[in-house]
Symmetry: C2
């Protein structure tokens, strides 16, 4: 294998590979060919072989890919080989949904703390997490929490972002479009549900106004 700058698109696909491979492993499946995996994911076998080839070569010719080995490799590439801890800021409905969602664990991710500025919420226990005051954010580094999730109202997003950055957080997943990034080395991924929802009508066939 030669050196390649890894396409961002390939990195974006890795979690999806991991997701389906974990399901396969759970079902007791031991190995899979690029063709079959492609079938599950809905794109071509080339894509899969090409993507894996950017990172190394961990298949067996004539046989396919060993699922366990592949999972280990992708985890390593994504730096999920040891547990990653994230702090959630903003315990509203969305925050609660994230806190209660059990699905991060399987990827090696753990929501390890939750914060809010509402006294009525502080102290409340959700699962094994107790909601803390946002002023405690500075303790994150000490606690080995490197990632943050922002689910606060728009108006509070920028200051939350700044506080997380100041706390030494390395990456942030934000549900608010309202923090316009500062001059940071913090990786930010923003999910704005409206941006996706609003795109549906464009693709809808023969869309008619709902005014009938």
């Amino acid at each position: 294998m030669k050196y390649h700058k890894i396409p961002d698109e390939a990195v974006r696909r890795l979690p999806f590979y991991l997701r389906d491979l974990l399901t396969l492993a759970e079902q007791g499946r031991k190995s899979i060919s690029s063709r079959d995996l492609a079938g599950l994911l809905g794109f071509g076998p080339w894509q899969i072989r090409k993507d894996f080839c950017y990172f190394g070569s961990f298949g067996t010719r004539g046989k396919g890919y060993d699922i366990e080995k592949l999972i280990t490799q992708i985890r390593k590439i994504l730096k999920l080989n040891s547990v990653r801890k994230a702090a959630l800021v903003g315990v509203g409905n969305l925050g609660l949904a994230v806190l209660r969602y059990p699905g991060f664990r399987v990827y090696g991710f753990e929501i390890a703390a939750a914060f809010d500025n509402d006294p009525k919420k502080i102290g409340r226990k959700i699962g094994n997490i107790t909601v803390e005051d946002v002023s405690k954010l500075r303790t994150l580094k000490k606690r080995g929490i490197d990632f943050g999730i922002i689910s606060v109202p728009c108006a509070a997003a920028q200051q939350t972002f700044d506080a997380l950055a100041a706390a030494g957080i390395k990456g942030i997943l934000s549900f608010s479009p309202c923090q316009k990034k500062g001059p940071e080395k913090v990786k930010v991924i923003t999910i704005d549900i409206a941006m996706d929802l609003v795109r549906l009508p464009y693709y809808a066939p023969t869309s008619r106004p709902s005014t009938r």
Copy 2:
């Protein structure tokens, strides 16, 4: 302007343009140059001019783009020029967050109905929406609801998807990775929060295990 097949990436960017343009309009701003808009969005002015050029030419040379006109145009392109209605299925924490989120209106989108299969939730009122039994999904078409949002547990995702498709829904935003698409003409956009969260460590600088 000549005919162009519109790049999917350009379509994906349009809602973001719309978002920032709406903010500018709200601030009373009347026009903006591709350079300034690019500054807000974090990419180059070429991108913006190129994207708009795929759809027509609605700027004024030497002057910039008229914000109101641009908003109208983008709305038209995205087929958001009349109100679009969506039904939410699955009133859990995530569903509630979506129902309570006031931010879709400004794009011309309205959550017009909510469904669940839990008798304890059916009949409950959230804002001006009353939660209905999922068996009522077949009434959607009649009510002019063309889009669906799936926020049900994984196990129920496939049947929810099928029910929405059977109800004549044109597009679906799903928060579940568990509906593997059938042979449909329904456009599906899936958001899997884990897929984004899990990507953060890859980009994090000098990521160390949190095991110290």
